[in-house]
C-alpha cells in the first residue's frame, strides 16, 4: 500500500458509532432470544463471537467473562454439539487456556465440525503457543485454497510474531487490498496488529498504524492504549496521559491504569501515579484469581514495572512461559529473572 495514502481514507469503513450500535443491537437481540429459549446452536456461536468481539474492541473484561460463561454453559447443555465445543475453544483460547482450547477443537472435530473454521482456530492457537512451523502449514494451506482478507491477515500476524517484518508487511498489504467489506472491525484489528508489530522496532511506523486503527474505530480501546504508549515513546507525553486517563476511567481492563501510572511516575506526578498503580494492582489481583493464564503476561509486566515486585513478576512470567513458549514470553521471563537478580544484588549491597 502506498505509504503516503491515509489508510483510513483509502479504505473507508462504517463509522464506529454505527458499527457499535449494530453490534450492541445484535448482542441484545440474541441475548433476548436466548433467554426465551429460541436459539439454535449456530446462533449461540454467533452470540459468543459477537460478545468476544466487543470485548476486544472496547477492552471490556466483563464481556470476556460473559462470553466464557455462555460458552462453558453451552458445552454442558449440549455435549453432543460440535459447535458448542468450537465456541468454548475460542473463549478458552482468549483466556490463554490453550491446551484446553485445542482439546475442545479436537472434540468438535470428532463431533463433525470440520473445515476452515476449525483450521483457523487451530492455527491461531499453535501460533499463540509459539509452534510457528505448524501454524504456518495450516495458514499457508488456507491462503492457497482461499486467498482472501482473513487468510492473508492470518499469515501477516504469523510473520509478525516470527519477527519477519518484511514478509509480514507484504501480507498486511495483501490482506488490506483484499478487503471487500465496510465493517470497521476486522480492518482496524489488522491495522492494530501491524502497529503492534512495529512497536518494538520502529515507533514512527507503529504510530501510523495504531493511529489508523484508532481513527477507523475511535472506540477501539486497545488500539488507543498502545497509541498512547507509542506517543509517549515519541515524546508526546501530554497526549498519552490524556488518552490513558480516559481509558483507565472507562475500562475495566487494568492495563490502561498500569500504563498511566508508569507514565505519571516518569513525569514526576507521584501522587496520581500511586492512585492508578493501586487501582491497577487490585484489579490485576482480581483478574488473576479468575483467569491466571490470561493475565499472567500483563500482570508480570505490571509488577516488573510500576508494580515494583520483581519476584511476583517472575512467578507470573513463569506461568506465562509455561502456557506459551514464545520468544516474547521468554524475553519477559528473562527480564523478570534479571530484575530479581538485580534486586537481590541491591539488597545485599
Amino acid at each position: 500500500m502506498n505509504v503516503v495514502v491515509n489508510p483510513v481514507e483509502a479504505i473507508r469503513t462504517t463509522h464506529g458509532t454505527i458499527a457499535l450500535s449494530h453490534l450492541d443491537g445484535q448482542i441484545d437481540g440474541l441475548e433476548r432470544f436466548a433467554a426465551r429459549g429460541e436459539m439454535e446452536s449456530r446462533a449461540w456461536v454467533e452470540l459468543v463471537d459477537l460478545i468476544t468481539l466487543r470485548a476486544q474492541i472496547l477492552g471490556r473484561i466483563a464481556d470476556y467473562e460473559r462470553a466464557s460463561l455462555i460458552a462453558e454453559q453451552r458445552s454442558e447443555v449440549a455435549p453432543g454439539d460440535g459447535l458448542a465445543f468450537l465456541s468454548r475453544a475460542r473463549t478458552r483460547a482468549s483466556l490463554h487456556r490453550f491446551a484446553e482450547a485445542m482439546a475442545d477443537l479436537d472434540h468438535a472435530a470428532e463431533l463433525g465440525q470440520t473445515g476452515r473454521e476449525i483450521e483457523v482456530d487451530k492455527a491461531a492457537i499453535l501460533q499463540a503457543v509459539g509452534l510457528y512451523a505448524e501454524a504456518m502449514t495450516i495458514r499457508r494451506g488456507i491462503a492457497d485454497a482461499s486467498p482472501d482478507f482473513e487468510a492473508a491477515g492470518g499469515l501477516a500476524s504469523l510473520y509478525a510474531d516470527i519477527g519477519d517484518t518484511d514478509a509480514a508487511e507484504q501480507w498486511f498489504d495483501k490482506s488490506s487490498l483484499r478487503y471487500r467489506s465496510v465493517s470497521p472491525f476486522a480492518l482496524a484489528q489488522l491495522e492494530f496488529q501491524r502497529g503492534h508489530m512495529w512497536m518494538a522496532h520502529d515507533p514512527e511506523r507503529a504510530h501510523r498504524w495504531l493511529l489508523a486503527a484508532w481513527q477507523r474505530l475511535p472506540q477501539y480501546a486497545q488500539a488507543e492504549g498502545h497509541l498512547a504508549e507509542v506517543e509517549e515513546a515519541l515524546g508526546d507525553r501530554h497526549s498519552a496521559i490524556a488518552r490513558l486517563e480516559r481509558l483507565a476511567a472507562e475500562s475495566d481492563d487494568p492495563d490502561f491504569a498500569a500504563e498511566l501510572a508508569r507514565i505519571l511516575r516518569d513525569a514526576g506526578r507521584h501522587g496520581e501515579s500511586e492512585q492508578w498503580r493501586s487501582y491497577a494492582e487490585k484489579r490485576y489481583e482480581t483478574l488473576l484469581a479468575w483467569a491466571p493464564a490470561a493475565f499472567a503476561d500483563h500482570g508480570a509486566h505490571f509488577w516488573l514495572s510500576v508494580g515494583g515486585e520483581p519476584a511476583r513478576a517472575l512467578a507470573l512470567a513463569r506461568i506465562n512461559l509455561e502456557v506459551r513458549a514464545t520468544p516474547k514470553a521468554r524475553r519477559l521471563f528473562d527480564a523478570a529473572l534479571a530484575a530479581c537478580a538485580n534486586t537481590a544484588i541491591a539488597r545485599s549491597a
Binding site: 495514502v5 481514507e9 483509502a10 479504505i11 473507508r12 469503513t13 462504517t14 463509522h15 458509532t17 454505527i18 450500535s21 449494530h22 450492541d24 443491537g25 445484535q26 441484545d28 437481540g29 440474541l30 432470544f33 426465551r36 429460541e38 436459539m39 439454535e40 449456530r42 446462533a43 471487500r180 467489506s181 465496510v182 465493517s183
Partner: protein
C-alpha cells in the same frame, strides 16, 4: 430469497447486501418513475438502532433502453446515457434521547438532504426521496424454495414466510420521468441498484437487477457444465449490470443454462427446450440483468417480466413491466421456469407479507419495532 445473502460476501457483510430492487410507474402520480432498493437483511435489531453505513454509496442507476430484437433472440439495447441517484449518509448524532441520521441524495436534478426515517421524505426539483428502516417487503417460504433445489422436486407447501417481520433499510426515489433523459429517449428505462465503497479506493460490492437471479438460479452448482465448485455470485455482483465483462460471461451462461434446465424438468416435461449448444431460451434475456419499465403504460401490479416474456414470444408487451413492491415474484418465477405458464401456478403458499406495501409514497411498509428471531434456515445457503 430475492437477493438476500446472495453470495459469501453479502452473507459475511449484510450492510452491503442489496436484498431487493423495485421500479414502477407511480400509482399516485402518473408520469413519475419510482425506484427503490432494500439493504441490510437478517438483523434482529430494534428498528431505531439500524443505520445506513456512512462508508457506502447506495446507488440507483437508470438508463434509457429500447427493444433491439424480438422473438427467440429478443434483446434490449441499453443506451449509454445514464442518470443515477447516489445516496450517502452521515454518522448519526444524538438528538434528545435518540440517534438521528441524515443523508444526501445526489441526482441529475441536484442534491437533496434528507433525514433518515422521515415518512414524507425530501422533495425538490421534481424528485422525492426517502431513506429509512422498513418492513422487509419480500416474502418466500425458504423451505419450499430451498427444498426444490435440494430434492429436485416440487416440495409440499408449508406457507411460512421465512422473513416475516424482519426489517431492512430502504431507499425510495420518485422522479418525473420526462426530466431524466428528455423526450427523444423513449418511454423505456432500465434500472439496477448498487452498493459501492465511497473511499479513495472504489469497489462495487453488490449489484442487483432482477430478484432471485443469484439465489434461485445461480446458487445451484450441481447442474453447471463448467464450474461445479464455484460460488459464482460474488463475481456476478461485482459486474456492471448494464455491461457484463466478457471475462466471466461463459461461466454465467453455463450456470444459468444448467440451473434453469433443472427447474424446467421438475414437472417432467420440457417447456424450455435448449438449443444445440445447450442454451436455455431465457439465459440471454436474464443476463441482461436489470428491471425494465415502460413509462408509456400505467402502473400495473403484475408487470414483472411481462415485457421480457412478450418479446421472447414475439408479441407486444401489455404492461409497464418493472417490479411492484407486493408482486409475488417467487410464484411468478417458479411458474415461468418450471412450466412457462403452460401449467398450474407453482406457489410456495406465501402470497404477501403481513403488512403489504401501500400505493402511497414511500410504498414500503413501516418497520417492525423489534424483529422476531429468524429461523435457523434463513440466510444459510440451501
Amino acid at each position: 430469497m430475492s437477493d438476500h445473502g446472495a453470495g459469501p460476501r453479502s452473507i459475511a457483510n449484510p450492510e452491503i447486501d442489496i436484498t431487493d430492487v423495485f421500479a414502477f410507474p407511480s400509482p399516485e402520480r402518473p408520469g413519475n418513475l419510482v425506484l427503490a432498493m432494500c439493504n441490510f437483511p437478517f438483523k434482529e435489531i430494534e428498528a431505531t438502532r439500524l443505520f445506513f453505513s456512512d462508508a457506502l454509496d447506495y446507488r440507483l442507476r437508470v438508463r434509457p433502453v429500447r427493444v433491439s430484437t424480438t422473438g427467440p433472440n429478443a434483446a434490449f439495447a441499453v443506451g449509454e446515457q445514464e442518470c443515477f441517484f447516489s445516496f450517502t449518509f452521515d454518522v448519526p448524532k444524538m438528538e434528545g434521547d435518540r440517534m438521528v441520521q441524515t443523508g444526501v441524495c445526489r441526482g441529475p436534478m441536484g442534491d437533496l438532504t434528507l433525514r433518515v426515517g422521515d415518512e414524507a421524505g425530501a422533495k425538490g426539483n421534481g424528485v422525492r426521496a426517502f431513506a429509512g428502516c422498513r418492513l422487509d417487503p419480500f416474502f418466500v417460504d425458504q423451505l419450499f424454495s430451498g427444498g426444490m433445489r435440494m430434492t429436485r422436486k416440487i416440495p409440499p407447501v408449508t406457507g411460512i414466510n421465512s422473513v416475516e417481520g424482519q426489517n431492512v433499510l430502504s431507499i425510495v426515489v420518485e422522479v418525473e420521468h420526462a426530466k431524466l433523459f428528455g423526450p427523444e429517449a423513449g418511454p423505456m428505462v432500465a434500472v439496477v441498484a448498487e452498493t459501492a465503497t465511497n473511499g479513495s479506493f472504489r469497489a462495487r460490492l453488490d449489484r442487483v437487477g432482477r430478484p432471485e437471479i443469484k439465489n434461485f438460479i445461480m446458487m445451484d452448482k450441481a447442474a453447471d457444465s463448467v464450474n461445479r465448485d464455484l460460488d459464482i455470485r460474488d463475481l456476478y455482483s461485482e459486474e456492471d449490470g448494464f455491461k457484463l465483462r466478457p471475462d466471466y460471461i461463459g461461466a454465467y451462461r453455463a450456470r444459468l443454462n444448467g440451473s434453469m434446465a433443472v427447474y424446467d424438468s421438475l414437472d417432467d416435461k420440457v417447456d424450455w427446450p435448449l438449443d444445440e449448444k445447450g442454451t436455455h431460451p431465457l439465459t440471454e434475456m436474464l443476463l441482461a440483468d436489470f428491471l425494465v419499465v415502460d413509462m408509456s403504460k400505467p402502473f400495473n401490479e403484475d408487470g414483472y417480466l411481462e415485457i421480457e416474456l412478450a418479446l421472447l414470444d414475439g408479441s407486444v408487451p401489455k404492461t409497464c413491466g418493472g417490479r411492484w413492491v407486493n408482486h409475488d415474484i417467487v410464484d411468478s418465477l417458479f411458474t415461468i421456469l418450471i412450466n412457462k405458464r403452460n401449467g398450474p401456478r407453482i406457489s410456495d403458499g406465501v402470497d404477501g407479507t403481513a403488512v403489504p406495501g401501500s400505493k402511497t409514497f414511500p410504498y414500503i411498509s413501516r418497520p417492525n419495532p423489534m424483529p422476531p428471531k429468524l429461523a435457523a434456515l434463513v440466510g444459510i445457503p440451501t
